[in-house]
Each structure stands twice: as structure tokens, then as C-alpha cells.
Amino acid sequence: MTETPAAMRLLVIIPALNEEKSLRALLDEFKLAQPMLPWATEAVVIDDGSTDRTAQVATAANVRVVRLCRNLGIGAAVQTGLRLASREGFDAALQMDGDGQHPPGEIGRLLTRLSAADAPDLVVGSRHIVRRGYQATGARRFGQLWLIFWLRLLCGLKLSDPTSGFRLYGAAALRLFEGAYPDDFPEPESLAIASKCGLLAVEEPVEMRARQGGQSSINGLKPIYYMIKVTLAVALAVARHSGGRNVTKRNAALEPEEPNAG
């Protein structure tokens, strides 16, 4: 990297669905952490078709708000942010949940890791390396252990928190995923895609918290569907991208992207 960190720009993407209760505190916390970050940072809330006051809360906090007119799901919401970052020439993009699980004070750790000598393309914040703060328990942890095994078997990835949505996309990952990003429950699948497309994904220990408000989208019988869907999706991603086939092929039939208009 020839640019100094101060010249680098980071877009913090906060996908949010009905998070009015936790978003205000999160954005306040982000604003406190923002001056301490080594990169020039902007935040954008992607309102994924919320029916509460999520967009108004974000607007009142004076951050950028992109409002999707209908609920597209977490994958498409994150992709919207990645497209914005790519279109506006950001050097990296960071994804963090709108429910307050990911403390903005930990962003600096991920940025430092991205600038390390081995220059990873994707940095995943892991709550299970040093085991501080909120830890997944019970069925969730069992599901995570299965996905750890599955990703290791199919992709050779040695990760401890494959479902973490606290992640930093470097330039190559940004280019890869702004074209197409997995739909629902995208985190493990995106790791498989990144791995098969030759990107280096690493983990950095972070402290997480329990969600500060709202409801998890994975409830009721959804964990069973989640496990089946993600297991198959990872296997398909591996088959699809073995040999370095580009992920953006999926969108080949779509209209061409408009050029960067700033």
C-alpha cells in the first residue's frame, strides 16, 4: 500500500431492519469512536424495508441513510452498501450489525489487521478467539461448530466464528462482493466464495455484546432451515467457484452497472 492510512477511506455499512431501539445508541457510540480511527470514516445505515422509525433515527443521527423500499434480506442490504462503497471509491468497507452487538470501539482492531504485512482481503471479527464478552451458546454454538467443520473440510478455512457479521472488506473483497453477494444467511457462504476466489480471509479477536434491542431473525424453526440452507449453500459455492470462477457471473444477465458517478 502506497497511501498513508490517513488518506484511506472506510465506509461503515450498518444493515438495519426495525432497529429503532438500538440504532440511536449505536450511532452515538460510533461517533465517539470515529475520531480515534486511523482512516477517514463514514457510516451508512441501510434501512432494509423497516416498518418502524429506523430511517428517521438514522437521519436524526446525521449519518447517511439508504432506504430500500422493500425488505431484501441481509445479503442484499449489505451488497447495497458494498455497491455504494465501490461506486464512491472507498478503499474498504466494514459491515456491522444495527442491533448493537458489534461495538464501534473494535473497528480500529480490524483496520489495523487489514493493514498488516500479510495484507488480508477480508478480516472477520471473532468473538471466540479470546472469549471475551457475548458468546454464542447452546444450539447456536453447535451450529457454528458444524459450520467451522464444514468450511474447513470444503475450503480449508480455519475460522472460529464463521457466522460473524462484523467484518472488514478490503479492496479485492469489495470488488468481488459488490457484484453479487449471497442472499440470506450470507456470512459462511461468502467466506467460502472468498476462499475459492483466492482471497485471504483472516480473523481478529473482538469483543461482542448481546443484541441491544429488536429481535433476531433466526427464531422458531428457522435454525433448522438455516443449517440446511447454509450447509448446501457453502457446498454449492465451492462447486461454483472452484477454479476461481468469478462470483459476478450470477449477475451477468442483469443490466450493466452505471459507471462511477461519485
Partner: protein, 129 residues
């Protein structure tokens, strides 16, 4: 050889196929359906209708394919046709879904850009220096 009396019973099936074909054509003429997605549908209806109109030959074909009972042959072909049509519908739906997602994202990003530009313009008006 199949029983002639039984074969005559397939005429209502031909009529039913013709009725659905008529409805599809009417929808096409009124531009409620796209021709692209209905060609395979009409093709299947045409084959079914034809099979009912010339039941002897259709029954011979069924026997040649190993079906002892003609009705089983029709049932199997209908199931396969439905599965293929459903698959085609799923593919179309997926394509439409991808396009809708991209258009929704485009719209949201454009709206955000317009809102930012307007905010910048308002700010410049309020503070011309």
C-alpha cells in the same frame, strides 16, 4: 390393443386441453401473458390435446414405452410436464427476483444521492460564503 370404448373417453380431455389453450391464447392477445414464457405451456397442451384426439396412436406409444394402462401413461406425462413447467417458472421467478433486487438497490442508492445533493444545495443557499 386398447379398448375402443375406453379410448373414446379421452375426448373430454382433448376438450379440456383446448379450453385451457384458448384461455392462454386469450391472455396472450390481451397482453396479460408474455409469449416467451407460454410457448412451452402451449406445446404441452398441444401434445396432450393431440394425444386425446388420436388415442389409438397415443395408446400404442404408451404400450411401446412399457405402460400397461394408458391412463398411467397420461398421468406420468402430465406429472413430468407439470414438473418441467414449474421448473421453468422457478427459473423465471429467480431472474425476476434478481432484477427486482438490483432495481431496488439502484433506486435506493439514487434516492440517497438525490437527497444528499438537495441537502448540499440547501446548505449552499443558506450559507453562500
Amino acid at each position: 390393443m386398447p379398448d375402443e370404448a375406453l379410448l373414446r373417453q379421452y375426448w373430454p380431455f382433448a376438450g379440456f386441453s383446448a379450453l385451457i389453450l384458448f384461455i392462454v391464447l386469450r391472455l396472450l392477445l390481451r397482453e396479460r401473458l408474455a409469449l416467451q414464457g407460454t410457448i412451452s405451456y402451449m406445446l404441452f397442451l398441444g401434445i396432450f390435446g393431440l394425444g386425446a384426439l388420436i388415442p389409438t396412436q397415443a395408446a400404442e406409444l404408451a404400450h411401446a414405452m412399457g405402460f400397461a394402462i394408458f391412463a398411467n401413461f397420461l398421468f406420468s406425462v402430465a406429472l413430468i410436464a407439470l414438473a418441467l413447467l414449474h421448473l421453468q417458472a422457478l427459473v423465471s421467478l429467480y431472474r425476476a427476483d434478481r432484477r427486482t433486487i438490483q432495481l431496488t438497490q439502484d433506486l435506493a442508492l439514487l434516492e440517497e444521492r438525490v437527497a444528499r445533493n438537495e441537502k448540499g444545495r440547501d446548505g449552499a443557499r443558506a450559507d453562500p460564503t
